[in-house]
């Protein structure tokens, strides 16, 4: 126990300041009124959906939960079911084998909801493109509010995408 406590004290708090939103990542105008965003911004529940990625983007989503980025400290957390979620964070080109599951997950998410597509594949289909096996970018299958490019996008870029999606129409601060 002594060693464990010593480790915690020695490591200290490494959390850094979160990035600012970036409107350039927006695909659709903000649909949600500020009154709703105000509540969501303080307690955002995200359901991650891998729609066919190479698992590179997943590595960086995990990293967002590391103490450096500490996403949860912003009131943003990942939940186990789309039924508990305000936002879907979707990675990968949508494989045709996943298309039905992605649509069902979207339908299972209660309104009002937001969708952030992650990575070059989520934005454009990436190197896998559209084919017999791939539907290409996420917005070919479900509506996308914000798209974050990168292969994979860094944790900072992912957080920026999430924060952009919950920013109001008049670009008021999130929190």
């Amino acid at each position: 126990m002594y060693q464990l406590l010593k480790q915690i004290v020695t490591a200290g708090i490494v959390t850094e300041r979160p990035p600012l939103p970036d409107q350039a990542l927006r695909q659709l105008e903000q649909q949600l009124p500020d009154a709703i965003l105000k509540h969501i911004g303080r307690a955002l529940a995200i359901r991650h959906v891998d729609a066919g990625s190479c698992n590179g983007c997943e590595l960086e989503i995990h990293a967002c939960n590391s103490p450096y980025y500490n996403l949860e400290a912003l009131g943003i957390k990942f939940v186990a079911s789309p039924r508990h979620a305000d936002m879907l964070l979707v990675t990968g080109p949508v494989s045709r084998n996943m298309a039905v599951a992605v649509k069902r997950t979207y339908d299972a998410t209660p309104d009002p909801k937001l969708v952030v597509a992650l990575g070059d594949c989520g934005c454009t289909g990436g190197i896998f493109g559209e084919s017999y096996a791939s539907c290409g970018r996420v917005s070919n299958v479900i509506p996308v509010d914000v798209a974050v490019p990168g292969c994979p996008p860094t944790p900072t870029a992912i957080m920026q995408g999430i924060l952009t999606a919950i920013q109001g129409r008049d670009r008021t601060p999130v929190r």
Partner: protein, 513 residues
């Protein structure tokens, strides 16, 4: 080159490898004899040879004492079929089913003829890897029935999980049959992330393929990129500079470390020791930032290319790297003793998800999970090609085969990786980083075979004219290990499944292709 009764021809390239053409009638005899000589099944796939005036072909790669043996079995154009080998090598089962889904080559007398890669995307009787199939083809989403094996009895019920899981992981379906909390049977259904990687390769030049190879399974991008580069260098007769080989070795160990660090964190998390998650993910982030600073990419993507590498390590950076790793290593040592002495964590780790050496050998368990179950295999040791020749890589091993053993092997490998990076950096040869890649004739074969963090990553390459790809098959070690996970969970309780699963941390994208 082998002790088998077949004619072989050497495959040029870095890894010792040979090839042999055999008749379908002799396949089983050859494979049985190889198995008796302790050969491992590395991969099984198919190819369409109709554009070359033939029919189809079954391809089998075995790890024999002296290196890799690539067997090719020509099959007829009409009703292509071959005697299945899944009874000899159980891991061949899903590979044979995948080869049927993609090419329509049929494994006779196989115990299981259910589809594997095909879900809804294309109908039965259509085979995407046949040359006449257009990659842009579209089909209406079909009904996707899949007969899971039913377990019956008093109190038995099923839990279906996935494809969209509760955590941030890749998609797949798990069907548990349980009584109370106890798992009686687990059946996996994967291939949700099938995105046509092998078909994409066939539209690419040898050079273009490198980027795609690095995205077969993102967490193993260095291993795949290196395996692909090795195969291309083999078919083109390119000799990558020794400095680039040492740098590849450094990057492969950094990739191994990043993955082991992340998984050790999650293994703490899964036994309610969130302290472990935060500490290990802090260290992993330190390592990723070091990667970004010194090499320009957090996961070292696209840095290994055919002909060499695209990054260098300056003298200042060498020092930065070694100091950074030493600091991480000393923290890993503290964390290991905390894990070891944490009775709650050990209580969950020990005897959970056990795979005994006998089962591991029968099922072909590979990589660090195999080494935790007494399988003494590691390509860096078994076939020590540059840059491993002078390093004398130490094998991490254990025999209990439970979560605790896999944790222990991961710790050992972390320390060994730090030692290897030190040795590689201290003897970094001077010279070029990259040489131009020559042209390859059509019909040339090359292999790439690299001990990635999860296990051996293999790439089989067969060229077409004009420096293009006739067939490229990337093989992930998860093909071998997924079926073993089904066995590892038996008799365990459902709440221990995430822990057992994470202790293996298998790739979905890699084998889904």
């Amino acid at each position: 080159m082998t002790d088998l009764p077949i004619q072989t021809e050497a495959i040029p390239g870095a890894m010792p490898a040979s090839r042999s053409m055999i008749e379908a009638g002799t396949l089983r005899a050859v494979v049985e004899k190889a198995k008796a000589q302790k050969a491992r099944l590395v991969a099984l796939w198919g190819s369409d040879e109709t554009v070359r005036g033939g029919g189809y072909a079954l391809q089998v790669a075995l790890a024999v004492r002296t290196g890799l043996l690539w067997l090719t079995v020509p099959l007829a154009r009409e009703h292509p079929r071959y005697p299945g080998i899944a009874d000899i090598y159980p891991a061949a089962n899903r590979m044979q089913r995948a080869a049927y889904d993609l090419l329509g080559i049929h494994a006779q007398d196989a115990p299981d003829h259910r589809k594997w890669l095909r879900h809804r995307a294309w109908p039965g009787g259509v085979f995407p890897l046949r040359k006449e199939f257009d990659i842009a083809s579209r089909f209406p989403q079909a009904d996707d029935r899949y007969p899971f094996v039913k377990v019956e009895g008093e109190g038995v019920h099923e839990i279906p999980v996935g494809p969209v899981h509760a955590g941030t992981i890749e998609p797949g379906h798990f069907r548990f049959s349980i009584v109370g909390e106890k798992i009686l049977r687990l059946e996996e259904r994967l291939a949700y992330t099938h995105k046509g990687i092998e078909k994409c390769f066939e539209a690419m030049t040898l050079e273009e393929g490198a980027r795609l190879a690095g995205r077969v399974s993102g967490d193993s991008t260095v291993a795949y990129a290196w395996a692909y580069a090795m195969a291309v260098e083999g078919v083109t007769g390119t000799e990558p500079p020794s400095r680039s080989l040492a740098l590849r070795g450094i990057m492969l160990e950094l990739e191994r470390m990043a993955n082991h660090l992340g998984d050790l964190g999650y293994l703490g998390n899964d036994v309610a020791l969130s302290f472990g998650f935060f500490q290990f993910w802090r260290l992993k982030e330190d390592l990723l930032r070091l990667n970004a600073e010194l090499f320009g990419h957090r996961y070292l993507m696209d840095l290994v290319v055919p002909g060499g590498v695209t990054c260098d390590l300056t003298r200042d950076h060498e020092q930065r790297l070694l100091e950074g790793l030493d600091r991480i290593q000393s923290e890993i040592a503290s964390l290991q003793s905390i894990y070891d002495e944490h009775s709650g964590a050990q209580d969950r780790f020990i005897m959970t998800g056990q795979v005994l050496p006998d089962l591991a050998e029968r099922m072909g368990l590979t990589g660090f999970a195999g080494r935790a179950s007494g399988i003494m295999c590691d390509l860096r040791i078994d076939y020590p090609i540059p840059p491993y020749q002078q390093l004398e890589v130490r094998l991490a091993s254990h025999t209990r085969g439970d979560v605790a053993a896999r944790v222990s092997v991961r710790f050992e490998e972390l320390f060994e990786s730090v030692r290897l990076v030190h040795a590689l950096v201290n003897h970094l040869p001077p010279g070029e980083l990259r040489v131009p890649v020559g042209a390859a004739p059509g019909g040339a074969r090359g292999i790439g075979w690299v001990e990635g963090w999860r296990g051996d990553v293999f790439i089989a390459l067969d060229t077409a004219d004009g420096n293009r790809i006739h067939r490229a098959h990337p093989h992930d070690p998860s093909w071998q290990n997924w079926p073993v996970l089904e066995r590892a969970v038996l008799g365990n309780i459902v709440p221990d499944f995430p822990l057992i699963n994470k202790s293996f941390n298998l790739s979905y994208s890699g084998p889904d292709l």
